[in-house]
Each structure stands twice: as structure tokens, then as C-alpha cells.
């Protein structure tokens, strides 16, 4: 049995990592780009904007702040494979040309913008090829955009944690260099005629930029950061950064300006308990219902239950929940509502005696539990019914009956146990389903849990928070599967036998 458990536990590790990799990659495909973030700053001004309303204000010019945010959340690194260390001068030249107004993307400013901003996020790994472009006298037209990209790539982000251990001298050095990079930007336009420098001090700025990197220490610093080994291309990626932060509990949510796990810590248990209880209800309820239906198979009651369950099943929980909210939780001019409309306990619940508190909890949780579990009811109870019917036709049941067992004994002692095997498999997967349901229930009944935290994170495009919540749900899912595997062994003697 121990071997069985260990085997299950070991299997969980690759599953866990696999799920995270897939989630991470999918998230990154959709994830925020520098362009999005800068537009979001312009587009949706704070306050009471309606759908799609934009506020007219200039685009932010201080890209460093956005780069800081990206670096803090590891979004500046490529998701799974980082080939920046191998990017040569020619490739950079090609990308700069692609972003030119007279280049191949003449008609698509957004594409040009994307290429340009992507280059800005390149970080220290792109410093060397960019510097080569700036230093090359033959590429005069590209000097200005390359110098701009260079100033962003060579820019060093200092975080609050760095401050604590950084000597003052080093901090000053970094700040001076950042400032100098900022001043050395060559102003230029990018129109249908291509790049054109409009800065009278262009030559001096370029010379200063080259002088800055000619300092031996500086150059060595960026060469070291270039990371040209193949192993680096796997290690210096967004995913590895995420995993490292995950295990050191350093995941930081930019939208909430807080560490992800401290955000989640306040909320996960609400979702966890709601889901666990609703699984128990759904599972136990449908087993009992399934047994009853199977024993009365074909009767009027069976047919009515089946139709009613399918009717419920076809009703989306968003709609059903709202319906319940409108009809059972709303005061009218004449009457008080039957159930509370929000939260899991009353405002003054803390001062109620414990017994009353539990009743209050039950009163609040009743409708959310109904909405969470009614959907799984149908499928589960029908499975149970079908399984049991199958078992009741089996030879061993006939033998039991022939032996003279009573009907109850036949069903409960012999048939039910065997039909539960499938039910246990289903229960493991139920947990995952429930999380998507929890999102809706938590939103409608205003329960501050993990569900709408994830929804909010998705709306805010907050990758770390979304991934942090995913880690929790994935862990719960895996635990659910583990439990169902264990129960499997309990119910099915064949499995026990194999590992005995």
C-alpha cells in the first residue's frame, strides 16, 4: 500500500510541472505586452469610465517605469526558451528595419510598435548587438532607434530588496549611468519616410553613449550578462523565473501591489470549504439518488426525477444563481428576503453564540451550495444509476439473490460497492469543475474567495497572480485525485492486492 501511495505522489510532480508549463505558455500567448501596458495607462483613466471610454492624454514617455514593472514580474523574459544571448548584430539591424516607417510593415504601425517595444525589453542580453549597431558608422539611419533601445536595455532596475544590500557607491554608479543613458537618447521621428534624426546634439550624444560603454567595467558587466551558453536559454526564461519565485514565495502581483501568496492566503480557504462541502453534498446526494432511481428503474418517479435533473443540468449556473438571487434574496416593499444576498455570514456574526453562528453560516451558504452542486448532481446520479443497474444484472447479484439475500442486502452489501468505483474516479475530476463554478457563485453571492480573485487577475492581465491561483487550484486538483486514488484502493480489493 505504501508503494502505491509513493508511486501516486511521485507521479504528481511531473503532472504538476506539466500543467504549470502549459498554463504558463497559454497565459503568455495572451499576456500583456509593453504596448498594452502603455496603452492601458493612457486608455483607461482612473475614475468612472464607461465601456470603451478613453481619456485623452498623452502617452507616457517614461518607459523605464513600465520596464521596471515587467522585470519585477519576470514578463520581460521569453516564456520557455530564451535565445537572446545568440542574437547578433545583423538580427538587431533586421528588427530595427522592420520597425521603420518605410520598412516592410509600412501599413501596420501596431506591428512596428510591437517589434520596437519588444526590442526595448531585451535587457542586458541585447546590449552588445545594439552597441555594435550604434558603433557602426555605416548604419547612420539606425543610430537613433538603436541608441534608444540601448538606453532601455542597459537600464538597470533597482528594487527595494536590492537597496538593502547594495553599497551606496554601486547605487550611485547605477543611477548615474541610468541618468546618462536617459540623456543620451537621440530624438528622432519614424514616419513614412523612415527614421530621421531631429536632434541637433545627435553626434555628441552618440559619442557620449559610446564613451559610456568604453569604460572597461561597464562593457565586461554586459558581456557577462549576455549568457551565450545553451543551458542559459532554458534557465533564463520566464517560466524558470516564475518557478524560482514560486518556491521562494516572491511572486509579486503588480495589479494589487502585494505578494501573491499573501493575497491568496486570505481567500483560498473560503473557496476550499465551499467546494469540499458541495462535493460531499453532490456526491453523497447523487449516490443516494442514483440508488433510489436504479431500484425504481422505469417507474414514474424515476422518469420524473430524470427529467427534472436534466432540466436543471441544462440551466447555466450563472443564470440559475441570478434567478435565485432575484427571487429569494431581494427585499420587496412588503416583505423581507428569505436568504441573505451576500457573503458567508452576517455583519455582526462575530458576536453571535457559536451555535447561532453555525446556523447563520448555513443560512448564508445554502444557496451558494445549491448553485455549486446542482450541476454535478445530474451527471453523477445518472452514472450511479446506470452503474448500479449494470451491477444488478451481474451474475454475482443473481447468485446472492439465489442464496436468499434480501433486496437491501443485495443492493447495499454487494452491488453498491462495485458501482462506487466509477463514482470515485469521477469525484477526483469534480474538484476541477467546481473551481470554474466557484467563480460564478462567488461573483453572484459576493463571497470573497479564490474564484473571483482569478477572474480579476485575468481582467487585469496580472500573470503572477493568475499563476499563483493556478498553483493553488492545481494542487487541490492533484490532492483530489490522490484522495480518489486512495479511495479506489479502499473500495477495490484488486488494487490493494496488486500492491500488497
Amino acid at each position: 500500500m505504501t508503494a502505491y501511495i509513493i508511486r501516486r505522489l511521485l507521479l504528481m510532480i511531473p503532472t504538476f510541472i506539466g500543467i504549470l508549463i502549459i498554463n504558463f505558455a497559454v497565459l503568455r500567448l495572451q499576456g500583456p505586452t509593453l504596448v498594452d501596458q502603455m496603452q492601458a495607462g493612457v486608455g483607461k483613466g482612473g475614475g468612472e469610465g464607461g465601456p470603451g471610454e478613453r481619456k485623452a492624454q498623452g502617452a507616457a514617455k517614461d518607459v523605464e517605469n513600465y520596464i521596471d514593472r515587467f522585470r519585477r514580474s519576470g514578463l520581460d523574459l521569453p516564456a520557455l526558451i530564451n535565445l537572446r544571448g545568440f542574437t547578433g548584430r545583423d538580427e538587431v539591424v533586421a528588427r530595427l528595419r522592420d520597425s521603420a516607417g518605410d520598412g516592410p510593415n509600412r501599413e501596420r504601425p501596431s506591428t512596428r510598435n510591437g517589434i520596437e517595444k519588444d526590442l526595448w525589453l531585451g535587457g542586458p542580453q541585447l546590449v552588445e548587438p545594439l552597441l555594435a549597431v550604434v558603433a557602426d558608422d555605416g548604419l547612420a539611419t539606425l543610430h537613433a532607434p538603436a541608441a534608444l533601445a540601448l538606453s532601455y536595455c542597459a537600464y538597470v532596475t533597482v528594487t527595494a530588496r536590492d537597496l538593502a544590500r547594495m553599497p551606496a557607491q554601486r547605487l550611485n554608479q547605477i543611477q548615474e549611468r541610468n541618468e546618462r543613458l536617459r540623456n543620451d537618447r537621440i530624438r528622432y521621428t519614424n514616419t513614412a519616410q523612415g527614421f530621421a534624426t531631429v536632434d541637433p546634439e545627435a553626434t555628441a550624444k552618440r559619442a557620449d553613449l559610446l564613451a559610456l560603454f568604453a569604460v572597461p567595467g561597464t562593457h565586461a558587466e554586459f558581456t557577462a550578462a549576455r549568457a551565450t551558453r545553451w543551458s542559459d536559454s532554458l534557465v533564463r526564461t520566464g517560466f524558470c523565473d516564475f518557478m524560482a519565485k514560486l518556491f521562494t514565495a516572491q511572486l509579486y502581483s503588480e495589479s494589487r501591489k502585494d505578494y501573491v501568496f499573501s493575497v491568496i492566503a486570505d481567500r483560498w480557504y473560503v473557496t476550499f470549504w465551499l467546494n469540499t462541502i458541495s462535493i460531499v453534498i453532490a456526491w453523497a446526494g447523487s449516490v443516494l439518488l442514483g440508488i433510489r432511481s436504479a431500484r425504481r428503474s422505469g417507474s414514474l418517479e424515476d422518469r420524473v426525477t430524470t427529467s427534472a435533473l436534466f432540466l436543471a443540468w441544462s440551466m447555466p449556473s450563472m443564470f440559475f444563481g441570478t434567478l435565485l438571487l432575484y427571487y429569494f434574496c431581494t427585499d420587496t416593499s412588503g416583505s423581507k428576503a428569505w436568504f441573505p444576498n451576500r457573503g458567508l455570514s452576517s455583519d455582526d456574526a462575530l458576536w453571535l453564540p457559536t451555535g447561532q453562528y453555525l446556523l447563520d453560516l448555513l443560512w448564508h451558504a445554502f444557496l451558494p451550495l445549491v448553485v455549486l452542486s446542482y450541476n454535478s448532481f445530474t451527471a453523477l446520479s445518472r452514472y450511479m444509476r446506470a452503474n448500479l443497474l449494470e451491477q444488478l444484472d451481474a451474475d454475482y447479484v443473481r447468485s446472492a439473490r439465489a442464496k436468499g439475500c434480501g433486496d437491501d442486502a443485495v443492493v447495499y452489501r454487494h452491488a453498491v460497492g462495485n458501482s462506487l468505483i466509477t463514482m470515485i474516479t469521477l469525484a477526483g475530476g469534480l474538484l476541477a469543475d467546481l473551481f470554474s463554478g466557484a467563480l460564478i457563485v462567488e461573483l453572484i453571492f459576493s463571497i470573497p474567495g479564490l474564484g473571483w480573485l482569478m477572474l480579476d487577475a485575468a481582467i487585469q492581465q496580472d500573470g503572477p497572480l493568475l499563476m499563483g491561483s493556478t498553483v493553488i487550484t492545481v494542487s487541490l486538483l492533484l490532492v483530489g485525485i490522490l484522495i480518489s486514488d486512495l479511495l479506489y484502493a479502499v473500495v477495490d480489493p484488486r488494487i490493494r492486492g496488486r500492491y500488497a
Binding site: 498594452d36 471610454e53 481619456k55 485623452a56 517605469n65 510598435n113 536590492d162 494589487r256 427585499d331
Partner: protein, 678 residues
């Protein structure tokens, strides 16, 4: 197993759960008790301080006298003594002028001590860290709106002008490039709640607001390490800020630009004694300030410090944010003792139901909810619509009334596209747009039809403009003039362009998930069909819409803009913004006269001259019709009006605020007129 065994088992389980829960709750209860004791203590302290102040006031006389509304120059100078004599009189009309103090005196008329009390409850939905600069979420704006004040203020009756606030005097000199503020004396920073903890005892003292705190705000905003890129934009033209003496603050701008006015006058201070210090009270070195500010210990403790009417009492993200009255407030407070934001309820339906159940005091309705709740009268407690009486909604047990917002929507025509290059075509499109019908049928009468981007009723509105009335014949004639005729009799207009026959067919792009837009465009499509124009419809998500704007990849689109009290034509209409990456002139409108006027407007400060320029600009844009202007936004404000139960539940003064204040100011500013029914 028999029945007795089972029931014993169940009983034990219940008992265990009961004991576990009981144990689990005890520390929470204890914590709550100590919190309540803290709160009581603070209230006692406040009371003591208020009593002391009152005693001082009585000793000094004259006592507090409510002053009439801000008619020019009549209200007494309050609080401060200004160093230079000020010419009281006609200059103080709130319109910027050189060399004199033009600020309207501080208005104390709306406050009635006898109405004070109660807890105002409302919804807010974005839980965030609260930082005065780096957090530009709406909840943070809303908190600082009541927790702190600016140098000057926009009076709620005429928000296009400026009044005193933390500054009692401003002198603009040097061709509108230098602003010198004289600050109000005796304004104290709020003592944050954490000051009661032994570790933060160094905060438990009175700190007076001085010019340093404003200089600190400017320094932080300009510090490149501080994460406030969009805010910094407003200050990019500033030359320097200086502290002349503790009560005199000066801002010097590099060039004469109208943006400098609200950026200077609207500046809020940042407490140097908190944000300039580490958690142990030692000052932070200048070079570390920017980085530290982004993740400041005070934000991590969820602190807020301002000089405003309310101070933060409790903030539990996603649960509640409670503000309580600042006992040391220098100005006139709102009437509520506490303002409590419910951060739990996010869903629209759930919010409406919580309002109906009396859990919040006011809320808003979307057009569709307005239709079902009020027009179809699904909620009996709302008064039904009465065409004869626009204020009928105030009579219900739950009251409703329209409230306007500073935003307008439009149909934009891409002038770069040959189809819409001819202004006669654009005019025809406007003539074919049944604006009034759509407002009444699709938006259920919400929203005012607009002719330009200036809000109706504003001092800048050009009332001489004639609307493009809905007239299909006129539209047809204009299209014919522009060469569009149905030569092949297929029902769609066509024209020979460069030797090719081209049908009048285009795609209208609009944002997805707005049901009203779907209906509106279907009506328009049908009207256009009648004059032989074929409009296709296409919805896109927000992200794609951003790309469409950026690439100018559209023929026509539905858009909307939020507007501001500072009228500016450069951003939307200057030709440079049509070319620039991500510029806001996405329709490609180019007009030399508009360019010239837009630049001139940015350099003009005197209100009459500005009005003249804006009116001319409106006339040109109205004639050119790059947009078919549609409607200014309007929503429905609902509030707890009257009932039989606890009287504190019911708000008073809401209708008065609607009648007396500028219709375009935010609801959050109207609250100064509100109070609970005595």
C-alpha cells in the same frame, strides 16, 4: 450498525465541529474587542480635541458663521493671513489672471452642524494598495479625493473656475510661467492609525503642512524611479519647484502652457514626514527615495495620510474600506461621520439587490436596468416615469434621477479613406443618423444629443451651431453632389473612381459586449439602406480596438472620449496627432486653421479669449464633421429616499445637490450636500 450508534456518531461529530469553530472564533473576537476599544479611545481623543478647539473658538469669538454661496468677494478670508495685500473684488472670479489673486474664496455655505452624523455606505470594486502617486486605480483616486486636498479647488457650482483650498492665494507671473502660492496656516496632517502602535510612536505628533510637502510631491513625481509614468507627463514642462518660506511655495514652468494651470493649482501635498522616512522614523537618503517609495512600508501597512476631511480607519482588501471624520480638519467637512465602502459585492445584479436590501445608500443604474426597474416598473419602490415632471423619480421610496458624466460618444469617419474624404459625404452620414430616435429608443432617453465635444451647458459651448437634423432626402442630395448615384439600379449607390465603379459600402467597427450599440447600429444600418448605403457591422474586443486605433485600420468606428474641465483641442484634432504613433486623432483630421487655433488655445489663459477660440474651433469641426457627434453620457443615480424603518437609512439633500451643483460634477463631490434625514 443500529440507529443509536449512528446518532451518537453524528452527535459527536457535531459537537467536535462546534468546539473547533468556537475555538477558532475566540482570537477573532478578542481582536475585534481590542479594535473597538481602540476606536472608542480615538473617538474620546477626538472629542477632547474638538472640545478644546471649541473652547478656544468661544474664547476668541466670533464663532463659526455660515457664509452665503460664493458670490464674488463677499466671504471672509478664513484661516490664513496673506503676506501681501490682496485686491478683493472683481478679480476673484476664479478665472486665471496675471499678477492678482483670482481664487474664489473658500465656500463654507453648504455645511450645517445639525445634520452631522451617520455612516454613508456605498460600493466600490477595485481593491488595491493605496499610494498617492503610484496607484492610479479608481479606488485610490476616490480615497484621496476625500482624504486630502489640493492647493486650489474647482468649486462644485462652477467647476470651470478655481477657488481657494490649501492655498489662500496664488499669483501667476512671468507670462503665466511662475505660480506663487501662499499656503493656509495651521493645517495639520492626519495622524495615521498606526501611530498608536509603539513601533510608530514617532508618528504620534502634530505635523503642520508646509511648502516642503508640496516640493516633496513634485520631487517624487519627477523622480524617474517612482512608478507614476502617466502622472509625470503632466509635469514634463516644469522647470523647478521651490520653497520660498514654509508658507510660500513656487512652481516655475519652462514654457507658457495651459496644462500648467491645473497641474499647478491641482497639486496635492505628500507627507514628507511619512514618505520621506523609513519605518523607524529615520530619513531616507535622497538617492534611495524613488525606489523605496514604490514599495513603501506605509503602503504595505495600508496607510493613508492626507490633510482632508476623512481619514482611513480600516481597510481590508475585498471586504471593506472605512473612512472616518478627521477631527482636525481645517475646512468644512461632509456631514457623515463615517463613509464605508463595501468592496465585497462585484456583480451588477448583486449590487442592485444589495441596494434594494438597504445595504448601501446610493448606487447607479445602467440604461437596461433603468428600463426594467423604472420604466417597466419592476420595482414598485421606484416612482414611475412621469413625462410631465422630470423630477418625478425623487418621490419614490427609492429615488432615482438622471446624472450626467463628462464623456461623449461619436461615430468616427476615417478621412484617409477615399470614401469619407469628401466632407459632403460625412455630412450626409450625419443627416442619416437618427440621433434623437436612438437616444429615446435604445438608450431610453438617457444622454443628451451633442454637436461637438464640448459638454452641453458648459461656458465653452457654441450655441450658434445648427444640428444636422435627421433628413434622408438631404443626405441623398449631399451624396449625389459628391458624385454618388445608383447608376446600375441595384439599390446601392456607386461612383466611378479611377476608372473603377465602386459601391458605397463600408464596415463600422465597435466594441463588443455593449448591447445598446448593437441595437443603435442596426437602426442606423436600416436608415442608410434607404439612401443606398451599405453599412456592415463588426464587433471587436478592447485589445483589437486598440490596434484598430493605432493602425487607423478602419473605415468607420464608434468611439467615446472622457473629457476634462480643461478644454484642449490639440490631443484630438491637431494634425501632428494624426501621424504620431498612437496619436488620438485617429480619423486623420487635418485642418491648418484648427492646428493654429489648437496651439493658440494651449497658450491662452484668459477665459474670454479661450471661449472665443473654442467656439471657432467648434464651428470648424462642426462644418467638417470628422465625427458624427452622438451623445453625452448620462446614467441614473438611485438612492435610499424615504421609508418607515430606521431613519438613518434615508438620505436627504440629494435632490438639492442635483438642483444646485453643476450637472457634470462627479457624484462623489455631490456628497457634500448630503446628510441623513434628521
Amino acid at each position: 450498525m443500529n440507529g443509536a450508534k449512528w446518532s451518537l456518531l453524528v452527535l459527536t461529530a457535531v459537537l467536535l465541529v462546534y468546539m473547533a469553530v468556537d475555538r477558532w472564533r475566540q482570537p477573532q473576537q478578542l481582536e475585534k474587542v481590542s479594535e473597538s476599544i481602540d476606536r472608542l479611545n480615538r473617538a474620546l481623543e477626538d472629542l477632547e480635541r474638538t472640545n478644546k478647539d471649541l473652547a478656544e473658538q468661544i474664547a476668541r469669538k466670533p464663532a463659526f458663521v455660515p457664509t452665503p454661496p460664493p458670490t464674488v468677494g463677499t466671504a471672509p478670508q478664513t484661516g490664513a493671513t496673506s503676506a501681501t495685500p490682496v485686491a478683493d473684488g472683481k478679480e476673484r472670479d476664479g478665472n486665471p489672471k496675471l499678477g492678482v489673486n483670482f481664487l474664489i474664496p473658500y465656500d463654507r455655505s453648504y455645511y450645517h452642524p445639525e445634520w452631522q452624523g451617520g455612516t454613508l455606505k456605498l460600493f466600490y470594486d477595485t481593491p488595491r494598495r493605496l499610494n498617492p502617486l503610484t496607484d492610479n486605480s479608481s479606488v485610490s483616486h476616490a480615497v484621496y479625493e476625500v482624504a486630502t486636498d489640493g492647493l486650489c479647488d474647482r468649486p462644485v457650482t462652477h467647476p470651470e473656475q478655481w477657488s481657494e483650498s490649501l492655498a489662500t492665494q496664488v499669483i501667476i507671473s512671468d507670462d503665466y510661467k511662475t505660480y506663487t502660492f501662499v499656503l493656509r496656516r495651521g493645517v495639520k496632517w492626519q495622524r495615521p492609525k498606526i501611530a498608536k502602535q509603539p513601533a510608530f510612536a514617532w508618528l504620534d505628533r502634530d505635523v503642520e503642512l508646509t511648502a516642503d510637502d508640496f516640493k516633496f510631491a513634485i520631487d517624487l513625481t519627477l523622480d524617474p524611479a517612482v512608478d507614476c509614468p502617466s502622472l509625470r507627463n503632466y509635469y514634463e514642462d516644469i522647470d523647478h519647484a521651490e520653497v520660498v518660506d514654509p508658507y510660500t511655495f513656487r512652481m516655475v514652468w519652462k514654457k507658457k502652457t495651459f496644462n500648467s494651470l491645473s497641474a499647478s493649482l491641482g497639486l496635492s501635498p505628500i507627507p514628507r514626514h511619512i514618505y520621506g522616512c523609513a519605518a523607524d522614523g529615520s530619513p531616507i537618503a535622497k538617492e534611495k527615495l524613488g525606489v523605496t517609495f514604490n514599495q513603501h512600508w506605509f503602503d504595505e501597512l495600508r496607510g493613508v495620510a492626507g490633510v482632508g476631511a476623512y481619514m482611513l480607519d480600516e481597510y481590508v482588501p475585498d471586504k471593506v474600506l472605512r473612512l472616518r471624520r478627521n477631527p482636525d480638519y481645517w475646512g468644512v467637512p461632509y456631514h457623515f461621520d463615517t463613509i464605508e465602502w463595501n468592496l465585497e459585492v462585484k456583480n451588477d445584479d448583486a449590487q442592485l439587490i444589495a441596494f434594494k436590501n438597504g445595504q448601501v445608500h446610493y448606487h447607479g443604474l445602467t440604461p437596461l436596468k433603468y428600463k426594467s426597474e423604472v420604466l417597466d416598473h419592476h420595482e414598485a419602490r421606484f416612482a414611475a416615469l412621469d413625462q410631465a415632471d422630470p423630477k418625478a423619480g425623487r418621490k419614490g421610496e427609492l429615488a432615482w434621477e438622471r446624472s450626467r458624466r463628462m464623456a461623449f460618444s461619436y461615430l468616427g469617419w476615417n478621412i484617409r479613406n477615399p470614401l469619407f474624404a469628401d466632407k459632403r459625404v460625412r455630412k450626409a452620414m450625419s443627416h442619416a443618423f437618427p440621433k434623437d430616435r436612438i437616444i429615446s429608443e435604445v438608450f431610453f432617453g438617457l444622454g443628451l444629443p451633442v454637436l461637438t465635444d464640448v459638454a452641453p451647458g458648459s461656458q465653452y459651448e457654441n450655441t450658434d451651431l445648427k444640428p444636422y437634423a435627421f433628413d434622408l432626402e438631404r443626405a441623398k442630395a449631399l451624396l449625389a453632389e459628391a458624385g454618388w448615384k445608383d447608376s446600375d439600379g441595384d439599390g446601392t449607390l456607386d461612383k466611378v473612381v479611377d476608372g473603377n465603379k465602386k459601391d458605397f459600402r463600408f464596415t463600422m467597427i465597435y466594441g463588443a459586449h455593449v448591447a445598446e450599440l448593437d441595437s443603435m447600429l442596426l437602426i442606423y444600418k436600416n436608415e442608410l439602406r434607404k439612401i443606398g448605403v451599405d453599412m456592415q457591422l463588426k464587433t471587436v474586443e478592447f485589445k483589437e480596438m486598440m490596434r484598430v486605433y493605432e493602425d487607423h485600420d478602419f473605415e468607420a468606428l464608434v468611439g467615446s472620449w472622457q473629457t476634462d474641465w480643461d478644454v484642449d483641442y490639440f490631443q484630438l484634432w491637431h494634425s501632428s496627432q494624426a501621424e504620431q504613433q498612437g496619436g488620438s486623432n485617429h480619423c486623420g483630421f487635418i485642418n491648418p486653421r484648427v492646428d493654429e487655433l489648437a496651439v493658440k488655445l494651449r497658450e491662452t489663459f484668459e477665459t474670454p479669449a479661450r471661449i472665443a477660440i473654442v467656439k471657432e474651433l467648434q464651428a470648424i469641426i462642426h462644418e467638417e464633421q470628422p465625427y458624427t457627434f452622438f451623445r453625452s453620457s448620462e446614467g441614473i443615480l438611485i438612492w435610499q429616499n424615504r421609508g418607515k424603518a430606521a431613519k438613518e437609512q434615508y438620505l436627504d439633500g440629494v435632490d438639492e445637490s442635483l438642483d444646485r451643483l453643476n450637472p457634470l460634477i462627479k457624484t462623489s463631490l455631490r456628497r457634500m450636500y448630503w446628510h441623513f434625514r434628521p
